[in-house]
Structure formats: C-alpha cells, structure tokens
C-alpha cells in the first residue's frame, strides 16, 4: 500500500475511484481532498474521471418501452 507520505500522487490515484464512489472513510476522504486541492496533475485527472463517470452513465441509458411498462403492470395481483 502506497502512503501519501511516500508518493502522494500514486496514493491519490489509488483512492480516486473509491473517492468518486463515496466509499472512503472520513480520514481517507480528507487526505484525498487535501491532496487534490494542492495538486493540479491529480485534479485534472479527478475531473476527467468524474466527467467520464457521468458520461458513461448518460450514454448507456436506455428506457423501458411503454409496452413493457404495461406488461409489468399487468402482473399485479388483481383486486377482488
């Protein structure tokens, strides 16, 4: 495991995905935020990863057809 003291940018890269996933603990999140506020190299990459995440999520959205919605509604238990 890399530490912020040994190689701050490598540690930041290691924490970046769980940071975006909101899965870091309080101390790790504070360390990552502190490093990102100081380091433009990591900040650029953080912004790219955040944009990429949103872009992927939007790009793959495919909505249900109205027919499927009707078919799912028809599966409901009939009211007596």
């Amino acid at each position: 495991m890399t530490s912020f003291a040994d190689d701050p940018c490598a540690k930041c890269e290691e924490l970046l995905q769980p940071f975006l996933d909101r899965e870091l603990n309080e101390a790790e999140r504070a360390q990552a935020e502190a490093h990102l506020s100081l380091c433009s190299y990591c900040r650029k990459r953080y912004r790219f990863e955040a944009h990429l995440r949103r872009f992927v999520r939007q790009a793959v959205v495919e909505e249900m057809t109205p027919e499927l919605k009707v078919r799912l509604s028809e599966l409901r238990t009939p009211l007596l």
Partner: protein, 195 residues
C-alpha cells in the same frame, strides 16, 4: 392460543391486501431504474424485457419475503441477477485473467495525447461517442461488467452490489477495479485505436 374470529381474520386479510398493493406499487415505481441496470447485464433488449417480466412475476409472488425498510431496488436486482444466472448466463465464457498493465489514468493519458488542444477535461471526455461507450461496456466480461453496471450505472454501494451478486465485498472491489480498467481499454481502442 386464541382462535381468530371472522372479524379479526377479515381485518388481517384486508391489511395484507393493502400491504401487497403498496408493495406492488413501490416495486413498479422502481421499474425504470431496475430496467436501466438490467439492460446492461444482458446482451439484448429482448433478453432484458424477458428478465424484467420474470423478475416482477417472481417478486409479486414472493413479496412477503421482502423486509420493509430495506432496499427494495437492491432486492429486485438480487432476484433479477439470480434469474439471469438460472438462464444459463454462467455457461458463457469466463473472464480472462491476463494482467492489465495500464493504470487508472490510461484512458485520460491516451485521449489527452490525441487532443492536445483540449481546454479542459470535459472536452477530453467529449472525444468519446455514446455508441462507443455502449459497445465498450458490452465488451467487458460478464463478471466484471455486472459490478461496473451496478455501481457505475445503478449507483449502488459496494455493500449493496455484494449483496445483490452474493459475493464478498472484496470481490466487488477487485472486479470493479478490473472491470473499469477493461472498460477504459475498450474506450481507448474505440476512440483513438490504442492497442
């Protein structure tokens, strides 16, 4: 043990009917979100639609096993992924385990190299097309893609994804890590023809 009177039995049935209707309404209210995830766990729209119908039919039959107050969307996706496995999904090819040398910033570095005049990171992302993302995601091997789809598209926590797929949280994290790297390699190939 006291015997149920016709009145108490009628009340019990009325309460159960009300709870069932509420459950079914809640589940149907989540169908759009469940479908968005389901669509990318399988290869085609037709498969996703069949899976949705099987999932909702099973959910409505076994609604009593849902614990109110817990995550209904995760519960529905647990049913859906189990049904997907029952349909023989695991007979398909298992993911290769060859090492991936590229780091997390691989895609950024490749796109930035080929977009030297990009003013900001948003412009770098714009080099990717919607179609390239869909095709890159479908090229990620199933076991890795399931986790990427649940976390990145479904916005589930690692703990929820672990519960849905019935795998340890550490496996979620390692598959997510690898799945995202495979996705980025695919995207780089689509966008700049990187090897």
């Amino acid at each position: 043990m006291s015997e149920a009177t016709p009145e108490t039995e009628a009340r019990r049935l009325a309460t159960e009917a009300r709870d069932r209707v509420r459950f079914e309404e809640d589940a149907l209210g989540l169908a759009d979100q469940v479908y968005r995830v389901a669509r990318h766990l399988v290869g085609s729209r037709e498969e996703a639609e069949d899976l949705m119908q099987e999932t909702y039919a099973r959910a409505f039959r076994s609604w009593r096993s849902f614990r109110p107050g817990t995550n209904l969307r995760a519960w529905l996706l647990r049913i859906l992924t189990n049904l997907n496995i029952d349909r023989g999904r695991r007979l398909q090819r298992t993911p290769g385990l060859e090492p991936l040398e590229e780091g997390d910033y691989f895609l950024y570095n490749r796109l930035e190299e080929s977009t030297p005049d990009a003013a900001d990171e948003e412009r770098v992302v714009e080099r990717l097309s919607q179609d390239s993302v869909v095709s890159a995601l479908s090229a990620v091997p199933h076991d890795f893609r399931d986790v990427v789809v649940l976390v990145d598209i479904g916005d589930f926590s690692y703990a929820d994804a672990a519960q849905i797929l019935d795998i340890p949280i550490g496996t979620v994290m390692s598959r997510l890590h690898r799945g995202r790297r495979v996705l980025k390699q695919q995207l780089a190939q689509e966008a700049v023809g990187a090897a």
